[in-house]
């Protein structure tokens, strides 16, 4: 494997894009973007792709003069009072606000005291993945999760039974296996996907204490030394750091993307939770179910331009199905979270870190791949040049995790091929 750092400008979009996804996951949160007109414009433009009601958003546009202390808190208070059932306020503060002298933590504290509202203040990441803000937000949420109570076995038995049992309304007596640590899954996934993935883990005998993010803050699972935190996405490096700061066990493994990734994920999570399991039979069964789809990827030449942080698990899944990976671009290699992914990727695959997007156009033209997983800036130009593309942001919709998500993932690769062959058959 060759890892080349091209030191270029990757085809990412502003991390503000993720407010749309976070808004879907946290419907009662108010997102306040603090900065100049530039941040407000970027957020509004990027969020327009999600539809009008994707997130409760307000924009605080600062004047060039440094604001008085407490001014931001007053404005956010006015914005928050407009919404009913506003349980959480996520302040996203751009670099301009910093330069204009906003005291982020001071203002967040004031808002919290005045509005009796949980406030998370996030600095807008200056670069990295399109998903970087999601990582910051999840890390902030995790830091506010309740601590797992020491010596809880000594108290009255708590109602427990795992995430799935909770959803189904079953609350059996404490059925936890002694020595088995509950699992908290960190990362965004659709509600269906969460339910299925929790079911797959509980089928392996694990207790899923909950997810971060968790829509109602009161359902936030406890995180502490007795907990194992497992990330769904490999770009959640700050979230894992926050979990480690809480003393939780952190699982560095493959993302639960594709059958092989899911099997390894469940096995390693189980191991961290205190249980040795063998996922081989389930993995074989799941593989058999998607065999037809996997066969269609065999020999397919794929180019991944790289922007979201999911590109390496995607490349691993494609390579595992027999596709030929021409290039995997990635804005950065998030070590150590990506080490297991890199080890599994295969020696013949080349990774370009911080790829220069304009050079990627040339490389795509030279290599003529069958499919390009393209970032939003390259998607239209490459499609216009006749390349078959799938937008990288489509993989962020949150349906691709676990054994059940493996089919959806493979379909995301294959549907552009099917549609193209139908269109090519038309006599125009």
């Amino acid at each position: 494997m060759t890892i080349l750092n091209e030191a270029g400008t990757p085809d990412t979009v502003s991390p503000l894009y993720c407010i749309g996804h976070l808004g879907e996951a946290l419907p009662h949160a108010l997102f306040v973007v603090v900065g100049t007109r530039a941040e407000a414009f970027a957020a509004r433009t990027l969020l327009s792709t999600f539809g009008p009601d994707c997130a409760r958003t307000a924009y605080v546009v600062l004047d060039p003069e440094p604001p008085e202390r407490g001014a931001l808190a007053a404005e956010v208070g006015r914005a928050a009072r407009r919404y009913r059932e506003c349980e959480l306020c996520i302040l996203v503060v751009g670099r301009t606000a910093r330069l204009l002298g906003i005291d982020l933590s001071g203002e967040a504290g004031l808002i919290e005291r005045r509005l009796h509202l949980a406030v998370h203040a996030l600095e807008l990441p200056s670069g990295g993945f399109t998903t970087s803000l999601e990582d910051s937000a999840l890390a902030a949420l995790l830091r506010r999760a309740p601590a797992d109570a020491p010596g809880r076995e000594e108290g009255p038995p708590k109602e427990r039974g795992g995430f799935l049992s909770g959803l189904l309304g079953r609350r059996p007596e404490d059925s936890r296996t002694p020595g088995l640590r509950p699992v908290v899954l960190a990362g965004r996934a659709s509600p269906d996907c969460r339910r299925r993935l929790a079911g797959e883990l509980e089928q392996a005998g694990l207790e899923v204490a909950g997810f971060i993010p968790s829509p109602p803050p009161e359902e936030m699972p406890p995180v502490g030394p007795e907990t194992v935190v497992a990330p769904l996405q490999p770009y959640l490096t700050e979230t894992l750091r926050a979990a480690q700061e809480r003393g939780a066990g952190v699982v560095h493994t493959l993302a639960p993307v594709g059958v092989d990734g899911t099997a390894r994920f469940i096995r390693d999570v189980a191991r961290a939770a205190g249980r040795e399991i063998n996922e081989l039979a389930r993995a074989r069964e799941a593989l058999a179910e998607v065999e037809g789809l996997r066969n269609r990827l065999r020999g397919l030449r794929v180019f991944l331009t790289g922007d979201t942080g999911l590109e390496i698990p995607l490349a691993r899944t494609l390579a595992g199905a027999g596709a030929v990976i021409l290039e995997v671009g990635t804005p950065r290699i998030a070590r150590p979270a990506l080490v297991p992914e890199l080890q599994t990727l295969g020696v013949e695959i080349d990774i370009v870190e911080a790829p220069e997007w304009t050079r990627q156009i040339e490389r795509v033209e030279e290599s003529r791949p069958d499919l390009v997983i393209a970032g939003p800036g390259l998607y239209a130009p490459l499609t216009a040049r006749g390349h078959l593309c799938r937008l990288s942001l489509d993989f962020l919709s949150g349906d691709i995790y676990g054994y059940a998500g493996a089919r959806r993932l493979l379909e995301l690769f294959i549907t552009p091929l099917d549609r193209a062959s139908k269109l090519d058959a038309l006599e125009l």
Partner: protein
């Protein structure tokens, strides 16, 4: 510091990038954080072409630790010139770069091997966070024109004009230009240069040869066309070319400036009025009570807000109850012109102020931007999204300008008013509201207030209440979710 529901225009850097991406042979170097980088994604969705955005990012801080990473401003400018060999490099700085006080470097570039000319560096040193997208585009275009159209040239033999349109990301830009080219062809006027869409350095150098400049969008072409007027005595036509009256006036002015026979121009106008223009026909065939005296409110940029205001008032007999613009730097100009068709003209860049005006005046028709759509929806009034910024980039855009544009305006009006006529009127009169309920209502964002008011009154009637109380309002909102 203000809390806004949205912004009508982007930062100045966005305007500069739009101008650069409109032209051939112009490269923008965008000094910004990587997190401020989304222009290629926006342009890709709009342009639907195989050409990547002609923009190079020069990170304010290198994105990753690497000695080879870009981040040195001067080095990035040189690299952009080496790699892309442009005729001009346009510098755009993000708000982060501007607030951090960084100045663009003074430098020159070596001559290009093919052309023997050095690329021109346009530093945009007038940029500041107070200069918005539209004003910046106007100034960037001026600087490009000054850089290349800097010596007198002989006038073209046949009458010709320069066409100043809108830059990329304005969905109707190309369609508006095509309609104007068609009309100019009919009156026998050639196009000397079209700016900025598709223009290159040679087009800019040719600008002083034209007999006149036709400015379709004053907000973008104002400064450059005035420069040509002052420097080379090229007169201009700058009134909005919207509606049959506006289009006819523009064609007559162009005819005069190009020394055409007035009767020839009139023949073309009459032919177009008979065959193409649909608005005069619509105004005559529609029952008078549908249009006459109907209260319309218009909010938008400069060109469309003024042009549509004139059209509604003069050609349709509607009452323009208010008209506003978000282009604060053109406020005086807008107010002066809007007074011709409304008693209430204003400028604001706060969408909630516009929403509050709509809520208090309840027009029969609201013409505005994408940010007014939820207001009209909430109030249940007909709405036309005819002013930028628009939410929709049609695959096959139809012009609003010229005679062909009058058909699009008539169709849009007819659809909006017909749809509204077919809806049942609200049941009964408005119920009284007590003070607590009004206080609660005021807490709801203006753009949602109309819907909240309607739901509360419906809920109160169903409950047999004689007035709307705070509890009724809260209950209706809970049910309306």
């Amino acid at each position: 510091m203000r809390v806004l529901r949205g912004v009508y225009e982007g930062p100045g850097s966005h305007g500069i990038l739009r101008v650069a991406a409109s032209m051939r042979g112009v490269r923008a170097v965008f000094r910004a954080l990587p997190s401020e980088w989304h222009f290629p994604a926006l342009l890709g969705g709009y342009a639907r072409s195989g050409t990547a955005a002609p923009v190079t990012l020069s990170p304010v801080i290198p994105p990753f630790e690497s000695s080879r990473a870009p981040g040195d401003f001067a080095g990035d400018l040189s690299a952009a010139v080496r790699r892309h060999a442009p005729d001009a490099v346009l510098v755009a700085r993000s708000d982060t770069a501007l607030i951090s006080g960084e100045e663009p470097p003074e430098m020159s570039f070596p001559p290009d091997r093919r052309t023997g000319r050095s690329p021109k560096l346009i530093r945009s040193d007038w940029e500041s966070p107070e200069v918005g997208e539209v004003e910046a585009a106007n100034l960037a275009l001026l600087e490009l024109v000054q850089a290349f159209a800097n010596r007198p040239r002989s006038r073209t033999k046949e009458p010709s004009v320069n066409l100043f349109g809108a830059p990329v990301l304005e969905p109707l830009a190309a369609a508006e230009l095509a309609e104007m080219e068609r009309l100019l062809g009919l009156i026998g006027v050639e196009i000397n240069a079209v700016v900025p869409l598709g223009a290159g350095a040679e087009d800019l150098a040719r600008l002083p040869r034209a007999w006149a400049s036709v400015v379709l969008h004053r907000e973008f072409g104002e400064a450059a066309s005035l420069y040509l007027q002052d420097e080379f005595k090229i007169p201009r036509v700058a009134a909005p070319i919207l509606g049959a009256v506006g289009t006819g006036a523009a064609l007559r002015s162009i005819g005069e400036l190009c020394s055409l026979d007035a009767s020839d121009v009139n023949r073309v106008i009459w032919g177009e009025l008979a065959n193409t223009a649909r608005l005069p026909w619509y105004a005559r065939i529609t029952p008078p009570e549908v249009l006459e005296g109907r209260r319309v409110a218009v909010f938008g940029d400069l060109t469309y807000a003024l042009g549509l205001g004139y059209t509604c008032a003069r050609e349709l007999g509607m009452e323009v109850i208010w008209s506003g613009t978000y282009l604060l730097h053109m406020e005086r100009d807008f107010m002066w012109r809007a007074e011709a068709f409304t008693d209430e003209a204003f400028a604001t860049d706060d969408p909630d102020e516009v929403a509050a005006r709509a809520e208090s005046s309840r027009p029969d028709l609201l013409i505005g931007t994408a940010l007014e759509a939820p207001v009209a929806d909430s109030l249940g009034i007909p709405f036309l999204e005819l002013c930028p910024p628009r939410s929709h980039h049609p695959l096959s855009p139809a012009p609003l300008m010229g005679y062909a544009g009058t058909g699009a305006i008539a169709d849009a009006l007819d659809a909006a008013l017909r749809r509204h006529r077919s809806e049942p009127p609200p049941a009964g009169d408005n119920l009284p509201w007590n003070e607590d309920a009004l206080e609660e209502l005021r807490r709801i964002p203006p753009f949602l207030r109309g819907r909240a008011r309607r739901l509360a009154e419906e809920h109160a009637r169903r409950a047999g209440a004689s007035a709307v109380t705070r509890e009724i309002l809260q209950e209706s909102r809970t049910r309306g979710r």
